[in-house]
Amino acid sequence: MLDSNKDSLKLEAMKRIVAMIARGKNASDLFPAVVKNVACKNIEVKKLVYVYLVRYAEEQQDLALLSISTFQRGLKDPNQLIRASALRVLSSIRVTIIVPIMMLAIKEAASDMSPYVRKTAAHAIPKLYSLDPEQKDQLIEVIEKLLADKTTLVAGSVVMAFEEVCPERIDLIHKNYRKLCNLLIDVEEWGQVVIINMLTRYARTQFLNPNMNESLLEEGSGGDRTFYGSDEDEDEDEEEKEKKAETPAMAKRKPYVMDPDHRLLLRNTKPLLQSRNAAVVMAVAQLYFHLAPKAEVGVIAKALVRLLRSHSEVQYVVLQNVATMTIKRRGMFEPYLKSFYIRSTDPTQIKVLKLEVLTNLANETNISTILREFQTYIKSMDKDFVAATIQAIGRCATNIGEVRDTCLNGLVQLLSNRDELVVAESVVVIKKLLQMQPEKHSDIIKHMAKLTDNIQVPMARASILWLIGEYCEHVPKIAPDVLRKMAKSFTNEEDIVKLQIINLAAKLYLTNSKQTKLLTQYVLNLAKYDQNYDIRDRARFIRQLIVPTEKSGALSKYAKKLFLALKPAPVLESPFKDRDHFQLGSLSHLLNAKAGGYQELPDWPEAAPDPSVRNVEVKDSVPEWTKCSSREKRKEKKVEKPFYSDSEGESGPTESADSESDSASGSESGSGSEESASRSESEESEDGSESEEEEEEEEEEKEKKKKKKELKKPVQESEREMNTVTAESHSHFTSLFSVEPAPSPQVTPVNTFLSNSLVTDLEGLSLSDTVLSPATIAPSSALKNYELLHRITGEGLSVEYCFSRQPFSPDANMVAVQMQFTNNATADTKNLHIEDVKLQSGMRVKEFSEIELLPAGETATAVMGIDFCDSTQAANFQLCTHTRKFFVSIQPPVGELMRPVFLTENEFKKEQGEQ
C-alpha cells in the first residue's frame, strides 16, 4: 500500500503502522518502505512518516540517512513553521553520524528571524547534547546566544536547555537575570516552572540570606511589605525610584539590605501563585520558602492550600512539601489547620500525609481540636490510617507536655479495642510514652502485661516485654509470671519477641534473682540452640555478663548498671524532619533521596558576590540596543559600500552623528564623542592621513577615500593603530565623565566591545582586503532603518533615517533622528535643508544644519531632533535641495521615543553604593 500512488492508500497504511507503534508492536521491518514517503506531498502522510522516523531511526541508522536531505531542504523553507518542524524531526532522529549537520542546523536556527524557530533550536540543544556530549562547548555558545533572546517564547525552552546541558554555568545567567525576571509572567507555564527553579538556585548563590538577621528583620521586612504591597506596577522607572526610596529607609533600620534584584525576583514571581498550573504554584512556593524573608513566606500558604482541592496526585506531592514546610515554619499554615482535616473519601496515602501535617501543626493552643479530630479518625474503617493516627497521637503527646496524660489515657482505652492492629499500635506508642515518666503509670504497665495473653502482633509483644523488663521494679509481682509464660512459648515466638524475652530474663535475673534464676537459665538454654544466630549470640553474651562464674571478667560487676541504666526517652520525630535540605518540590525531596541530575541547592553565600555583574548590560537596556545598532549600521553600510565602515575603524573623523555613534558606540552625548573623535584623529596623523578637525563633509568624504587606500597596510600596524585610538578615546570618555554631565554609566563595557569588534573588522579587512561578508555579523532587528525618500521619487537622492537612541544634545526633550543622505544621481545635490515643517500642537523640530553640497555617489549623514510630545504623530516637512522639494514625514514607532537620563560618574557610583 505504501508504494501506491494514491495518497489515501498511503495514509491508511501509515495509520496502521502508527497504530502498531502505539501498541508497542515492532514495525521496524517496514522502514525502507516508509522512508521513501518522507518527501510525500500529503501533509498528513508526511506527519505520520515523521512519527515513524523518530521512533525507528535510531535502530536503522543507515536507512535513516536517506531522509536527511528532505529535512535539510525543509530548514531553508520560507515558512517558519516548516523550518521549525524540519529542525524538530532532524534533531529527534538519534543518529550519531548527523551530529555535525544538527549542530549546523541548530546554530543557524538560533539566529533565525522567527522566535518559534529559535524556540525549536533551544529544544534541539538537549537532544544533541544527549546524543553527543562532546559538543557541549559549542552548545553552550548557542545557549548563551539564545539566553540573550528577548522573546517569551524562547525563554522557557532555552532555560530548560541550560539546565540540561550546563547548569553549572551560572555566570551565563547574570546578564539575563533581570530580563528573565521581567519576562517571567508572560512565559508559557511549563517554561515558568523551569525558570523559577533555575532562578531559585541562582539567587541562592548570588544574594545574601534575608533571614540572616532574624530579630532585626522582623520589623524591616514588615516595612518592606507594605511598601511593596501598595504598588504592583513593574515599570522599569518605577522600580528605579522605588529602590531609591527604599534605600534610605532601610539603611537606617538594619544592616542587611536586600539586593534589589532579589526583591525583583520575589515581586515578579508572586502573581504566579495565582496560576492554574499546580507545578507553577509549587515552584513559586518553593522559591519563596527558600529565598524570601521569613515574614513574607506566609503568602504561599493560601495558594498551597488551594492545591489541596486538586487531583489526588497533586495533593500527594503538595502535602509532602507542606509537611516539610510545617516543620520549619509552623506558623505559616496554622490558620489553615482545618483544610487538612481528613475525609473518609481520601485515599489512604493522602490521609496519612494530612495526619503528618496536622501533627506538625499541633501546639498548645490547637491541640484540643486536633485531638478531637484524631478521635474521630480512630474509628475509621481504614486500619492503616488508624495505626497512623495512633502514631500521630503519640507524637503530639511527646511534643506537647500538657496533653501527655490525656493522650495516654485515650491510648490505654484503645487497648480494649477489638481490632488487634489498633491495640498493637497503641501498645507500641504507649511504650514510647511511658518511657518518659514510668513511675506514675505502673497500673498501665500491669494492664499491658495482661495483654500478652491475647496480643499476637510481634512488635506489640516485644514492646510490652521490654516495658516490663525495664520497669520491673514497678511491677515486682507480675514480671516473673510474665517471664514464666513467655518461657513456655519461647520457641514459637518471632525473633524480636525472643530477643526481648532474653532481655526481660536478664533484667529480672539482676533484680530478682531469687525467683527467676532457673527461669532465666532455661530461657538462655533455649536461646542457645535457636536457629537465629542473633539470638544465639545474644544469649551467650548475656550469660557471660550476668551469670557469675569464676571466669567472668570485670564487666559482670557492672551488669546491673549496663542493663538497668536510665535510657533516654525516644524522641518521636517527623519523617520529614531533615528533608528540607533538598529543594522543595523536587523529585529528590519527594523520594528523600538524590535523584539523577539533581542540582544541590547551594547555601547562602557569606558575603554577597558582586551585584554589578547583572548591571552590566541590562541596567536600563540602552546599551544592548546601541550595541546592536552599531553592529547593524556597520553591516548595512557594508552592504552598500563596503569600505565605509573601515574608515570608521579609523575612528572616522566626520563630525556627523553617524560616525560618532560608531566610534563611541552610541551611548555618549554628541559632544563627548566629537571631542574624542577629534582627539583620536590627531593620533592618526602619524599615518599621514592628516585630517583637519571640523571640516566640511565633502572634504571628509574624499579623505576617507584616501584612508581606505592607506589601510592596505600590514595588519599589525593597523591593529596597533586601532588600539591606540580606542585606548585614547576611552580615556577621553572617562575623563569626560566628570566634566560633562552626558555619559551614561555603561561606557566601559560598550567601549571594549567596540574596540574588539573594530579590531576584528580591521583584521578582516587587511586579510581579505575586500568586502567583509555581511553574514559574519549576526543580524539584529533592534535598530531599524526607515526610508524617508526613495531613490526614484527623490530623483537620485535617497534618504534613510533611524532613531539613533542617543540623547539629542541641543534639547533633551527631543528624539535624535539620524538621517543618511545618499546621492545616487549623476549630478551633485546642493543646499540640502528642511522647510515648511507641519506639526501637531506641542511638537517641535530642531532642523539639521544645511548640507551645502552632496557630490554624486556620496553619502552624508545628519542628525535632527524632534520632540514628538510622547505621541506617535507624524512630523511632516519638506526636504529641499537646490532644485526640488520633497514632502516627507517621520512617524516614530512605539518604543523609539525615549529620553536619556544623565548621571555623572560620581552620582552613579553614589547611587550604586547606596543600593
Partner: protein, 444 residues
C-alpha cells in the same frame, strides 16, 4: 524530562506507549504493577515510584493509569500536571477519556502526544493550538473524510503558537456570537453528628463557553468581588487588572475553558443547605442493627434542592440491608459495602426518610468503625456564596454577542460523621462504654 508514557487499563494491560527519547522497554512497568498490587485500591498507588534506573510518575484518571517514565530530576508536579493535561485534552477531543475511546482513535492520540511534548518538554498544551494542528473528529467530518479521502490533520499551519495570545486561534468566525458563563460552587463540609459544622468552605469555578468572532476582549465584573478569597486564573486573564480593579479582563480562548477557580473565605459563614438526622445502631444480641435517616432543608435561600443522594460506607460486617425509603430508591452493594440512597428532589413538606434493619454476620464481633455519610446535591440558579456577576463587556469587536450566566451549587466533599451505638448485652459493660466515651470527650 518526560521520557516515555504508558497507558495502562485497570486490568494491567499496556494498550498505548509513546517514547519521546530512546525507547524504554515495557518491563519497567513491572515495578508499577508490583506497587499496584500492594496498594489494593487503585487510588492508593503512590504517584511517584523509584526503580533502580528510572522514576515512575503516574496518575489515575477514568480507570486508566497514565504512567510516565523519567530518568532525571524533574519537579514531580510538573509531570503530574502534564499528565492531567493529556487526559484533559483527550477528554476534550473525544468527549471522554476511556480505554475504548483511546483505542478507537489511537492514531490521533499518538499524534497529539507527539505534538504535546518535544524531547520530553511540553511544547503545545493549549487545546486551541492543538485543535488547529489536529482536528478533533466529528461524525460529519468522518463521513466526509471517508467519502473524499480528506484528512484530520489541519492543512493550514497553526499560527496560534506564534502569536502572543497562544490560547486563541486566529480567524474565528461564528454566525451566532455567544458567551456563556457557568458559576459553579461546591460546598466542602464536615459536619459532626449533632449537625454543627466542623469545617466548611466553598470552592467555586467559572466555566466559560465562548463562541465569538474575531479577537474579542472581554471584561467580566462582579457585584461583590470581595467575597473571593483566593483565586487562580486561566493564563488569559490579566492579573494586574484583577489586582487593581477586581475585574476579569481577558481575550478568551475559543470554545470551552475554565476561566477561574476561586475559594470563598471561611470567615463568611457557609450556608449548609440540608440537615441530616441519622442513627445507626447494632445490637449485641442477634445479628442485626437498625438504621434511620431523615433529611431536611436548612438554608436553601428559597431554592429547591435537587439530585439529592446519600452514600454511606457501611462497616464490613454488615451483610445486607432491608430498608424502606419514603422517597427515592436505595441500593446496597454487597461487595463494596456501600449504601446509596438516591432521593432526587427534596420536598420540604414531606421529608424523605430511610428506615429499616441491617443484618450483620452472625458470630463476628460487632463493627466498631464508624460508617461515613456523604451527601451529594444540586441547587440550580444559586451560588451559595452569594457571588453575582454584574456585567460582561466586550471590546475590540463590533457585533453584539449573546451573553448568559448560569449559577449552580453542588455538594463537593460533603461529609457527616456518624457515631454508632452498640448495645451490649451486659448493662454494666454498656455503661462502661458510655463512660469511656465521656471520658474521651471531656478529657481531651
Amino acid at each position: 524530562m518526560i521520557h516515555s508514557l504508558f497507558l495502562i487499563n485497570h486490568t494491567g494491560d499496556i494498550f498505548l506507549e509513546k517514547h519521546w527519547k530512546s525507547v524504554i522497554g515495557r518491563s519497567v512497568c513491572d515495578y508499577f504493577f508490583e506497587a499496584r498490587e500492594k496498594a489494593v485500591e487503585p487510588e492508593n498507588v503512590p504517584p511517584v515510584l523509584q526503580t533502580p534506573h528510572h522514576y515512575l510518575i503516574s496518575i489515575y484518571r477514568g480507570k486508566l493509569f497514565f504512567l510516565s517514565v523519567i530518568q532525571t530530576e524533574v519537579p514531580p508536579l510538573f509531570v503530574i500536571e502534564f499528565l492531567h493535561r493529556v487526559a484533559d485534552t483527550i477528554q476534550d477531543y473525544f468527549g471522554e477519556c476511556s480505554e475504548g475511546v483511546i483505542k478507537d482513535n489511537v492514531v490521533t492520540v499518538y499524534e497529539l502526544l507527539e505534538e504535546m511534548l518535544d524531547n520530553g518538554f511540553p511544547l503545545a498544551t493549549e487545546s486551541n493550538v492543538l485543535k488547529e494542528m489536529i482536528r478533533p473528529p466529528t461524525i460529519l467530518r468522518s463521513v466526509v473524510n471517508t467519502l473524499t479521502g480528506a484528512s484530520n490533520v489541519g492543512d493550514t499551519l497553526p499560527t496560534g503558537q506564534l502569536s502572543n495570545v497562544p490560547w486563541r486561534r486566529v480567524g474565528v468566525k461564528y454566525t451566532n456570537n455567544e458567551a456563556y458563563f457557568d458559576v459553579i460552587e461546591e460546598i466542602d463540609a464536615i459536619l459532626d453528628k449533632s449537625g454543627t459544622t466542623v469545617f466548611a468552605e466553598i470552592q467555586g469555578v467559572i466555566e466559560a463557553c465562548v463562541r465569538l468572532t474575531g479577537m474579542p476582549d472581554l471584561t467580566l465584573s462582579f457585584m461583590n468581588p470581595r467575597l473571593l478569597d483566593d483565586v487562580s486564573f486561566h493564563p488569559c486573564v490579566r492579573f494586574k487588572r484583577w489586582e487593581s480593579e477586581r475585574v476579569l479582563s481577558f481575550i478568551p480562548p475559543d470554545g470551552n475553558f475554565t476561566l477561574m477557580n476561586y475559594h470563598v473565605s471561611s470567615q463568611n459563614l457557609v450556608a449548609i443547605p440540608v440537615y441530616v438526622k441519622q442513627s445507626i445502631s447494632f445490637f449485641e444480641t442477634g445479628p442485626c442493627g437498625r438504621l434511620d435517616i431523615t433529611i431536611g432543608p436548612k438554608q436553601t435561600m428559597g431554592k429547591t434542592v435537587e439530585g439529592l443522594m446519600v452514600t454511606i460506607h457501611m462497616p464490613k460486617a454488615v451483610l445486607s440491608a432491608n430498608l424502606t425509603a419514603t422517597q427515592g430508591t436505595y441500593t446496597y452493594d454487597l461487595a463494596t459495602k456501600v449504601l446509596v440512597w438516591d432521593i432526587g428532589k427534596l420536598n420540604p413538606q414531606k421529608l424523605p426518610n430511610l428506615k429499616g434493619s441491617l443484618t450483620t454476620q452472625a458470630g463476628t464481633p460487632k463493627p466498631e468503625d464508624n460508617p461515613s455519610l456523604n451527601i451529594d446535591l444540586k441547587i440550580q440558579q444559586l451560588a451559595i456564596s452569594g457571588l453575582k456577576v454584574s456585567r460582561l463587556d466586550m471590546y475590540g469587536e463590533k457585533y453584539k454577542p449573546f451573553k448568559g450566566v448560569k449559577y449552580l451549587t453542588k455538594a463537593g466533599k460533603f461529609q457527616i460523621y456518624i457515631y454508632m451505638f452498640i448495645f451490649l448485652e451486659n448493662l454494666m459493660s454498656y455503661l462502661l462504654f458510655e463512660w469511656l466515651q465521656c471520658v474521651l470527650k471531656h478529657s481531651i
